[in-house]
């Protein structure tokens, strides 16, 4: 009985950790969107998220797209933020098995799925 409880407890903790990972990304994206819109006075049209490994360090990468009010051209802004290895969901880590150093692994679809499951 105790091992079952332990497994259940660990599963709940893992799910909570996962939810927190995606929630943190959503919070980060919202801040970046607000910042871009505030500083550049533009409307952010869309975003994509990635995870990347550079020199042994994992980074979350987010890209934002908007039309520059002055030049009327589209622009892409990229933010990165270091992420702790332990925070990365296992299904994302699995994608790194065959990836070369510096490859951007998209997490946009996973983010969308998790947003739906956590009811955002």
């Amino acid at each position: 009985m105790i091992p079952i409880m332990l497994v259940l407890g660990l599963s709940v903790a893992a799910i909570a950790l996962l939810a927190k990972y995606w929630q943190n990304i959503v919070k980060w994206i919202k801040k970046a969107v607000n910042k871009i819109q505030e500083v550049l006075k533009v409307l952010v049209e869309g975003t994509r998220t990635f995870i990347s490994k550079l020199n042994g360090q994992f980074v979350n990468k987010s890209k934002y797209y908007y039309k520059n009010k002055v030049t009327k051209e589209f622009e892409e802004v990229i933010y990165t933020r270091e992420v702790d290895l332990n925070e990365i969901p296992p299904e994302i880590m699995a994608k790194f098995l065959n990836a070369t150093e510096g490859t951007d692994i998209s997490t946009t679809d996973e983010l969308k799925l998790n947003l739906e499951s956590i009811g955002r």
Binding site: E45, Y65, T71, E73, E75, E76, R81
Partner: protein
């Protein structure tokens, strides 16, 4: 190229034609140099920033001494090529400094209006750039690229569309024009990391605009709180307590504090209103502090954006 509106015939005719521009080709009428609006007396800068600007301006003010008498002309054959890049935090006075530089040199300023340069017609953008440089030369004005990273950003390496090719062509033309231009050009940006390295090499001096120190903050508070506005602000406290704010932040805080007092029909603007206003600004900046690192800002084509966002741009 979907880069901006084309200036039509009617717009052209409504533009003011300066006396000296009467000698210029019709296309040059699109551009209008103006008298600088600010001098260094109107700006409060850190000593380091101010000194850096003055050092570079010496090249114009003591040209004969430097290049003839002291012989620098032999070693620096392209001494005339002097782009100055003003970079740093938003709201630190970069655009005002560009005006002040022109005023000090007794020159007009030609603020680049990107919408007048960019054209949807192939080759027109490059032609407009050439016309603008010619106009600046003939009108003896200083070209000023504000938000310069928009135009000087890294060229696209993976060209996926004709737009990308066109964007690259524009940057390449600009690169050649800057290289061949033998007069002062000013650039200002919040995003220096986004400059194409080729442009970086062609700029003589990069002047960093830092956030004001306590002494400068004190001067800024004094400058932005009008003398005739009744208030009991303790400027020493405001300057000492709130670091990490720009001149623009202080200006906004003064306005917001005044609005509060006016709305409440108070006779004086209370010190606490200034504190509350600047605290809100400091807090909003702190909220953004964990944004991570801005690694790139670049121009991309509409096709690229569509591709990135799954086929279409959400409206």
């Amino acid at each position: 190229m979907p880069l901006g509106k084309r200036i039509g015939q009617s717009s052209q005719s409504s533009l003011y034609k300066p006396a000296e521009a009467n000698k210029l080709p019709n296309e040059a009428m699109l551009f209008q140099a103006e008298e600088p609006k600010y001098s260094f007396d109107d700006i409060i800068l850190n000593c380091r920033t101010y000194d850096s600007i003055q050092d570079v301006l010496t090249i114009y003010e003591k040209r004969d001494l430097l290049f003839d008498k002291w012989g620098l002309g032999a070693a620096y054959k392209q001494q005339n090529r002097a782009g100055i890049n003003l970079y740093g935090y938003p709201g630190t006075g970069k655009s005002m400094a560009a005006h002040a530089i022109c005023k000090q040199l007794n020159r007009k300023i030609l603020i680049v209006d990107y919408s007048q340069i960019e054209s949807k017609y192939v080759g027109e953008t490059a032609k407009n750039l050439v016309t603008m440089f010619n106009y600046a030369k003939q009108s003896h004005s200083v070209i000023f690229f504000d938000e310069a990273d928009a135009l000087l950003s890294k060229r696209v390496t993976n060209m996926s569309s004709s737009t990308d090719v066109s964007v690259n062509q524009t940057r390449s033309v600009l690169l050649v024009l800057i290289n061949d231009y033998d007069d002062l050009i000013l650039f200002a940006t919040n995003f220096i990391t986004n400059y194409d390295p080729a442009f970086m090499r062609r700029i003589l001096a990069h002047v960093k605009f830092e956030l004001p120190d306590e002494e400068s903050r004190s001067k800024l508070w004094k400058m932005y709180i009008p003398q005739k506005m009744p208030n009991n602000a303790d400027i020493n406290i405001l300057a000492a307590k709130y670091s990490g704010v720009s001149g623009s932040d202080i200006s906004n805080a003064v306005l917001n504090a005044s609005l509060r007092a006016a709305r409440l029909s108070e006779n004086i603007v209370q010190h606490s209103y200034f504190e509350e206003a600047i605290e809100r600004i400091v807090k909003s900046k702190a909220d953004n502090s964990d944004l991570g690192e801005l690694v790139s800002r670049r121009t991309v084509s509409e096709e690229y954006v569509k591709e990135q966002l799954g086929g279409e741009i959400p409206r």
